[in-house]
Symmetry: C2
Subunit: 540 residues, 2 copies
Amino acid sequence: MTRIVILGGGFAGLFAAKSLVKHLGKSAEIELISDQNFFVFQPLLPEVAAGSITAAHAISSLRGLLKHVKTRKARVHSIDFEAKTVTVFQGVQRRPTQVAFDQLVIALGQSTDLSRTPGLSDHALAMKTLADASRLRAHVIEKLEHADITQLPEVKQEALTFCVIGGGFSGVETVGEIKELVDRSLKYYPSIDPSEVRVILLEYADNILSELPPRLRQYAAQKLAARGIEVHTSTGVASATGTAIVTTNNDVIGTRTVIATIGNAPSGVVRGMNVRCERGKIVVDRSLAVAGVPDVWALGDCALVPLVEDASAPNEFAPPTAQFAVREARTVAENIRRKLSGQKPRLFSYKSKGAMASLGGKRGVAEVMGLTLTGFPAWLLWRGFYLSFLPGASAKLKVLLNWVLDGLMPRSIVQDVKPENSHTQIAHYRAGDRIFEAGNWADGFYTIISGRVEVRMKDSNTGELTTREIAAGGHFGERLILGESRRAGTVRALDATEVLVMDRQEFLRLASAFPAFQNYFQAYFKDTYGIDWTPAGQAQ
Amino acid sequence: MTRIVILGGGFAGLFAAKSLVKHLGKSAEIELISDQNFFVFQPLLPEVAAGSITAAHAISSLRGLLKHVKTRKARVHSIDFEAKTVTVFQGVQRRPTQVAFDQLVIALGQSTDLSRTPGLSDHALAMKTLADASRLRAHVIEKLEHADITQLPEVKQEALTFCVIGGGFSGVETVGEIKELVDRSLKYYPSIDPSEVRVILLEYADNILSELPPRLRQYAAQKLAARGIEVHTSTGVASATGTAIVTTNNDVIGTRTVIATIGNAPSGVVRGMNVRCERGKIVVDRSLAVAGVPDVWALGDCALVPLVEDASAPNEFAPPTAQFAVREARTVAENIRRKLSGQKPRLFSYKSKGAMASLGGKRGVAEVMGLTLTGFPAWLLWRGFYLSFLPGASAKLKVLLNWVLDGLMPRSIVQDVKPENSHTQIAHYRAGDRIFEAGNWADGFYTIISGRVEVRMKDSNTGELTTREIAAGGHFGERLILGESRRAGTVRALDATEVLVMDRQEFLRLASAFPAFQNYFQAYFKDTYGIDWTPAGQAQ
């Protein structure tokens, strides 16, 4: 029996699987490989981030949606086009497993690359996955909790400034929803005055929602402004730290929340493939077959799908939208059937039926079949369309219930996930930034990757003040090992500085288990502070 | 104005705050400090773990529940009883903040300590917090996903064996709910035969639910057995690894899911306090005042609350249940009012109204006011009682809707949180266990804390097999730094072995940023493999 393997469980992969079942029934063995066991309904992610939809309700189980398809939760590692196998890591992701195919459908989507802007990938929150949306919600609530109780005006202002980078659909919907979340939550935070909150949208181009006609763009910008959102066009982000961003106009905005909806890039697997790529996407012909590789197809955001012969201008290729992905999926499925029965393939062609954006606060903009709508009707159309588009009856019912409850009840501010989850992270500081202060909780161990810091210490007996400089390759905060729980000194960045921060628990675990670490620090404490330190367990 | 500070936002803290508002109105300033901004309804956690209730719906916002109370999301660090201040870390948890009090209520609950059983704290899942419950659900689904696709019978059997340790209310309800989750999910996993699933409850005492009358205990044990759950009494756990537990009867059970509901221990803050403790709890008198410290009260699971004068037998102290915590909260509030108005305190006394347990599968046991109920009526009573007890109208509505939907729709198998979240962890192996195999994905760097391993390598050119032993203090897997993505050798534990595993990303980050690490490995690669390695960035 023909084995068809689909890589990816987004719109493109899910609908390709569904169409293949329709075209081929049980005459083929169809397997879908995805690194998560659910389909995420991307258009609802901003609402998940804002809490109007519970995270678990914006997603559907792939196994539930795909009855006659074998579903494999695994991470794709590589493809051998000659041997016709895909290598995946499944389970605890250690043992490589080979999955054979006769026909392969690549629908791996895109990932995000923010590395071109210093500090952005380390300090910005993304809005691409379900986890991103949940984390963003938890992060925003964390900032409100902090702003409500802090005594420091600067910290309060940074905590109450929320910046979204990118004025496309995702950025506009995210900023609208975040504003609504904050507005509806403020009643629980008595020490925060609404005037202290800033919600900002930055777009590098000279207008937002460039896919829409000018009239709708203007309406959207006005509506966002009327709702109290600052929209800065012709403004990109030049660098980011944990407490500020610097714009391309050299403005400094103090903020502890930067949400990046920009920076699409090919996924790691696609980058590692030996196929022709252009503009970061896999080159396919108009039948969606991958150029130069027999029996392999690509579609969706990872593929460069031409809409006309000899396409070259950007608008001659399919845009990366769900609407196109679903139509491409049908073409791929039909062409696989045609190929298996020796027929000629059909060429993909499709014309967009329109575009819509929700602006939050029950307002939207829509252009459908040449008609334009704004305000509440557009927002209602947006919700109605996406509800009908949502695959799976139980998901539809749950999202509908979420919307009804959200209309009736106050927005929940429970912070049901932890905002952070990395134990070793890179942090950026601008010259002059305080990294930590004497008396602070000793939260981790710092290694300087680039830049320079100054450590200022006061001798607790004599009151004498000493300072020393530490440059790239040096480290500070290592006195954790000695049992320090509060910082003895104050550290400031002298230049723009990049550090690796290893959290307290990770560092202490490593220091207690790894002898090379212990030997190094034993010598270091002796040389630097004249302290004889004996690692626990070695003392005799 | 009198400042009353409450530490902890569980049943005891929440109800103390509510009662204080009732007793004192606006004549006192009441502040509650909790490290999460929500109240968790503990009795529903097993249902969250099983997915019949969405995590966000088993909790209520503390700010929403406590209208006239200042709420501070912060971690309590220490208490200065003399100066009458609490030191907390808030925000990014660095800067210490002093919170002053006139009256202090300690309701910090208990934490878990599994350290007495080798491997248990590193390999068991807990069931104490909301995050624990969410993680457990994700973990169970991960095991089903893996069992469905693995080719290895041993791995499949381990993945399909689920062990719950502890036959108290929490353990019994958890095992019942996990069984229901697995049973209802199996239809999505075509390669799993129901007979391959084992769900096991281990209890060290000679019966489960020892708080209930013998007839109900027997009913519960029979009902669990009838539902296909193996109940092993007089059986504890002696040690645990990532793939097995060894029982106190020396049986080895291959399993990748161990859920520990045992091991209550005082929280870190309580341990660090300078107050009298007995049985791991703060000693209070019958008015709930902390012995020897004026103006400080303690209640709930962190306090040893005597029910009679000169209490000494275990049953002469209040049990750690929500029922008692709520009654204690009322007494503390009343006694603070009495103290402020110069009256004598009231002594705490309360007699349990009964106990109930849900067994899953719509069955339960209950003893209420001397009456006993079993089966469906007991289960219905359980749900009705907890629904009425749940604080907050919107939480009630949400939980009710969850139950209705769960009754109508298939159980969702979406894995909406990641099962693991630590980047450096300790893992235990039994003698003979394979740690990894040649060809496996190189997932991290291993340091041996105790024990001994054997590394077996095959030269890819000559086919020659070499073996070497590595003992405590040694390490393996460091070839990640050289760009290795697959393991070159196979590693097995020779003795019972404990290792620190640092995940790939963390290790590579540290290796690239920390020169002492680089110097060590540069010398190590030269000495051990004769490889000249130059860290990136240092090459000139």
